[in-house]
């Protein structure tokens, strides 16, 4: 299992578009993917789940990747965050 902490830096936080981008990307992989914010943990393959986090700008999120292709999955997901979901 890989655990990594990311910071949300895009202006609008995780609204529908980033949420669907994250879940779509995650769904390509076999591994499990969880996102934790404070005491809330959700399935990162679900748009609804990610939106439920209500993560705005400057929120810290913990990402958990677990499974056969966890490394590749982590790299692609982290890249999305780093690129601010291609928004800015």
């Amino acid at each position: 299992m890989i655990t990594i902490t990311v910071m949300l830096t895009n202006k609008l936080g995780i609204h529908v578009r980033p949420a669907s981008l994250i879940s779509k990307t995650a769904s390509k992989y076999k591994s499990n993917f969880l996102i934790r914010k404070d005491d809330m943990e959700i399935n990162g393959k679900s748009v609804m789940g990610i939106m439920m986090l209500g993560a705005g700008k400057d929120t810290e999120l913990e990402l958990f990747f677990d499974g056969v292709d966890e490394q590749e999955m982590m790299e692609e997901i982290v890249e999305l965050f780093e690129e601010k979901f291609g928004e800015e």
């Binding site: 679900s46 609804m48 439920m52």
Partner: protein, 572 residues
């Protein structure tokens, strides 16, 4: 007396008493369901989600060149509807808590909405509206599956509803009300388009109509203006009575105008046809009395079902369309022009960075031949009932025409073997919308029975300007001299090889562009139905010689200048 204004959907003037169809589509069921009903409720929920997804697809096809913001919102709603986990979560509530499907949806979304309300972030809490919207869409689609309007409408009444969906429009038609008033609804929706064809006044977006009107209130409905007057005064009633006396005369005048041949001022015959999307549109007088249908889009067949229909069910639709024209007027059926961007999921296509330059139109059809074959078979079988023609979209090379023709030949052979009737002389033409086909129109003409110019795509590809990019909309138009030159080349090639050249893009419906096209030698226009009368009038205003000279005088100039001089010319 009180006046209400909404969107005019279908014209007409009528007075009568209202009947309220308070179908209560948003109130969810109470209580619990039985174990034996669980699967049925899950199915109904899933159907409503599928319906909501295709409903948005349909909306998106209309919004293509319009509101970008609205598009983005709708697309994000679709993403949520496609979320597998949403489907699973709601199914769990139904199965484990034995809640009726509509109530399960309501509770699930309300939980989300409450949760978001607690978040101290303005941007994020605005998402509540999105969830509210999606919730309503699913619940509405669930409830509409079992509403029958006939249960509500009795006698000659003005029907007032909260909202409307296509199947409801059609069932309303059968109960012959005087007019229809709807509280909500977009003028670009599928319902709106079908509503135009039912032959009675229809108005959308009269806010709070169900609260403002009471059963049996007397109203006058002004369909043309989108206006309703509640308890009209003496003057309005008198005007209405006078109008009713004249109404028949006015309608007759409109029909008479439509029935006269379309001629220029020097009596040159011009072919004027309509662009349609739904079979019901053939019943509109504007379509009935002109020279046929120059563009029958078939994409809706896919979006209605979220799947490509079989040859048999396509046959029924094409036959329904062509049987509206027993006098041999043509209907040009454009084969599916869908692309990888919409079908990625179903076909496991790679994500396309530039879907407009990707696997769409004929490229898609030649790749997924079975879909193409089913459509060809459907068109061929219907060709026995009238003058149908096949129009191939997005042709970029002659090879694509040859391959398509081979495929059509194979389907013809199949029908012959089965002894099923069809027109074996059916014309097969191509859309000229990719620059390569216009540049080499002289060679493409040897392989096509007709050309139909699609100006929207042609402009986008010639100028490398995305047609949906509003920032580019004013500067990159079909008035660009390079686009005009390709249209001229295409018309010339058509004349040389003696094949028909038509134009079915937006440009044919633009009153400013029509004189330019006549001057270039175009003699066949296929236009949006709402513009038919206007274009018919414009066509009759000039002589060909004067327009040819006008074009020669202004041809070497900029798109801005061309727009300006033609605007000047058409000003009355």
């Amino acid at each position: 007396m009180k006046e209400y204004i909404g969107y005019s959907i279908a014209p007409g003037l009528i007075a009568g008493n209202v009947t309220l169809v308070d179908s209560d589509i948003y109130t969810v069921s109470k209580g619990h369901i039985k174990d034996s009903e669980v699967e049925e409720h899950i199915k109904s929920f899933q159907n409503a989600v599928t319906l909501s997804i295709s409903e948005i697809d349909l909306l998106l096809t209309y919004l293509e060149t319009r509101a970008r913001e609205e598009r983005n919102i709708l697309q994000s709603h679709q993403e949520i509807l496609k979320d597998k986990i949403l489907i699973e979560d709601v199914a769990i509530i139904i199965r484990e808590e034995l809640k009726p499907a509509d109530r399960a949806v309501q509770e699930y979304f309300n939980k989300m909405i409450d949760h978001l309300s607690d978040i101290d972030d303005v941007v994020l809490s605005q998402r509540k509206e999105d969830f509210e919207d999606i919730k309503m869409r699913i619940i509405r689609n669930m409830h509409y599956q079992d509403i029958h309007i006939k249960d509500f409408v009795k006698g000659n009444k003005v029907v007032v509803l909260a909202e409307i969906i296509p199947s409801l429009v059609l069932s309303i038609k059968d109960s012959h009300p005087l007019a229809v008033i709807v509280e909500k609804g977009s003028p670009h929706s599928h319902s709106a388009i079908i509503a135009k064809s039912i032959g009675i006044p229809v108005i959308f977006n009269i806010e709070n109509a169900l609260k403002e009107f009471k059963e049996n209130d007397f109203v006058i409905v002004y369909g043309d203006e989108g206006k309703v007057i509640l308890e009209p005064d003496e003057k309005h009633i008198k005007d209405y009575e006078v109008f009713q006396k004249n109404a028949k005369k006015i309608f007759k005048e409109k029909i008479a105008l439509l029935k006269t041949p379309t001629l220029t001022k020097d009596k040159t015959k011009i072919e004027l046809m309509g662009n349609i999307e739904f079979p019901e549109e053939c019943e509109i007088p504007e379509v009935q009395y002109i020279d046929g249908v120059g563009l029958f889009r078939t994409e809706f067949l896919y979006f209605m079902e979220n799947a490509f229909p079989s040859a048999e069910s396509q046959f029924k639709i094409y036959r329904q369309v062509i049987e509206n024209f027993p006098d041999g007027k043509p209907v040009y059926v454009r084969t599916f022009d869908v692309g990888g961007d919409k079908l990625q999921r179903e076909f496991g296509l790679h994500k396309e960075v530039n879907p407009n330059l990707g696997c769409r139109g004929i490229r898609f059809l030649l790749k997924y031949k079975e879909i193409f074959r089913q459509q060809i078979l459907g068109i061929l079988m219907a060709s026995a009932y009238g003058n149908l023609k096949i129009m191939l979209p997005m042709i970029a090379s002659i090879k694509e025409i040859i391959e398509s023709r081979e495929l059509i030949e194979e389907e013809m052979a199949l029908l012959r073997k089965k002894k099923i009737a069809f027109n074996d002389k059916i014309e097969i033409g191509i859309m000229i919308e990719i620059p390569s086909s216009a540049i080499l129109a002289d060679q493409f003409a040897k392989h096509a029975d007709f050309f139909s110019i699609g100006t929207n795509d042609l402009t986008q590809y010639v100028l490398a300007a995305d047609r949906n990019n509003e920032a580019l909309a004013d500067e990159f138009t079909y008035f660009d001299p390079a686009v005009i030159e390709l249209i001229r080349t295409t018309i010339k090639a058509g004349k040389k090889h003696n094949i028909d050249v038509k134009l079915c893009g937006e440009m044919a419906s633009d009153p400013i562009a029509v004189p330019l096209l006549l001057g270039l030698g175009l003699r066949s226009f296929s236009v949006n139905i709402s513009g038919i009368i206007q274009i018919k009038k414009i066509l009759s205003r000039f002589t060909i010689a004067e327009l040819e000279n006008f074009y020669k005088k202004h041809q070497s100039t900029s798109q801005e200048e061309l727009q300006r001089v033609y605007k000047q010319l058409t000003k009355q």
